[in-house]
């Protein structure tokens, strides 16, 4: 079996001003990168992840930093599995929190309001967008949010 390919972004950005650093941090979080070390992040390689990291690299350069995008493989399958597991675990925590929020919204008196449902659906979309290693909890979270939507439709009719 061939080893998987990853897109890496290596970057260095001046500590000050902090605005570009915060913008960078937000973007990397939205993409769901694995932070490999200080200034090195990774995503499983596909056309989209590579492109997104290239845009981030350009932004770092525009902000006076240095950045390069690398295509790489880990040297062994066990390291590869460990990294994938780490990313899946991190996203699993987010799904778990969402499921709990959905349950809490469901317990509230009068059922969940439309605003709460919209917010949870949006949050689910955000998490799914940075989920690279599908696992059963993803489906569980989707069902929890869908069920919430169904309860209000029933209550309204």
């Amino acid at each position: 079996m061939e080893l998987a390919k990853w897109a890496l972004l290596a970057y260095r950005l001046p500590r000050e001003p902090s605005t570009p650093r915060i913008a960078l941090w937000r973007q990397l979080r939205r993409l769901g990168v694995a932070q490999l070390s200080d200034g090195v992040v990774a995503l499983p390689l596909d056309a989209r992840t590579r492109e997104q990291l290239e845009w981030v690299a350009d932004q770092v350069t525009d902000a006076g930093g240095e950045a390069s995008v690398w295509l790489a493989s880990l040297a062994s399958r066990s390291q590869e599995r460990a990294l994938a597991r780490r990313m899946a675990d991190a996203i699993g925590v987010e799904y778990r929190a969402l499921i709990e929020e959905a349950a809490a919204a469901d317990r509230g008196g009068g059922g969940p309001g439309p605003q709460a449902i919209r917010r949870l659906r949006r949050e689910l979309r955000r998490i799914r967008a940075r989920d690279y290693f599908p696992q059963p909890i993803a489906r569980e979270a989707q069902l929890a949010v869908e069920r919430l939507g169904a309860t209000t439709t029933e209550a309204a009719s």
Binding site: A23, Q27, R30, A47, R48, E51, E54, W55, A57, D58, Q59, D62, R125, A129
Partner: protein, 143 residues
């Protein structure tokens, strides 16, 4: 004129190509490269790392085109907001259409090549632009 961009057209590149053909260079010929080093000297590069007509700051390439070519048409800005969210989904704009547009073009690029993606998305962006113009004229969503 020749215009060069990265192979594998998704929403931002497809929208840029439409904008070029319709507002900037009706005779435009597009070529697709894997590496920015393969861009011929006589071609204008867009939506590829290092190109002037590319992502800048928080803007996607389509928005950069609008700025650099002084296209201030509010309907184009509205299309730009949708393209931005479809490409980056950073919630800078409220554009619920974006998710649908992204999926449609992403799916299209799975079944046809880049040339065909541009052929097919051209009329789609014509329609989106017409819709935004109508919507602005009416002050509400057109029926």
């Amino acid at each position: 004129m020749r215009w060069a961009t990265r192979r594998g057209c998704h929403v931002d590149r497809a929208a840029c190509a439409w904008l070029v053909r319709r507002f900037i260079d009706p005779e435009a010929a597009f070529l697709f490269v894997d590496d920015d080093a393969d861009i011929p000297a006589d071609a204008t590069a867009f939506d590829i790392r290092g190109a002037e007509l590319s992502h800048h700051g928080a803007d996607c390439s389509f928005e950069t085109f609008l700025r650099r070519h002084d296209l201030h048409d509010p309907a184009l800005l509205a299309v730009g907001a949708i393209v931005h969210e479809a490409d980056l989904a950073d919630e800078r704009y409220d554009a619920p259409e974006a998710a649908g547009l992204d999926v449609l073009i992403r799916g299209l690029s799975m079944v046809v090549d880049d040339e065909r993606v541009l052929e097919l998305t051209g009329p789609l962006f014509d329609g989106l632009y017409a819709y935004e113009q109508r919507s602005l004229a009416l002050g509400r969503d057109p029926s």
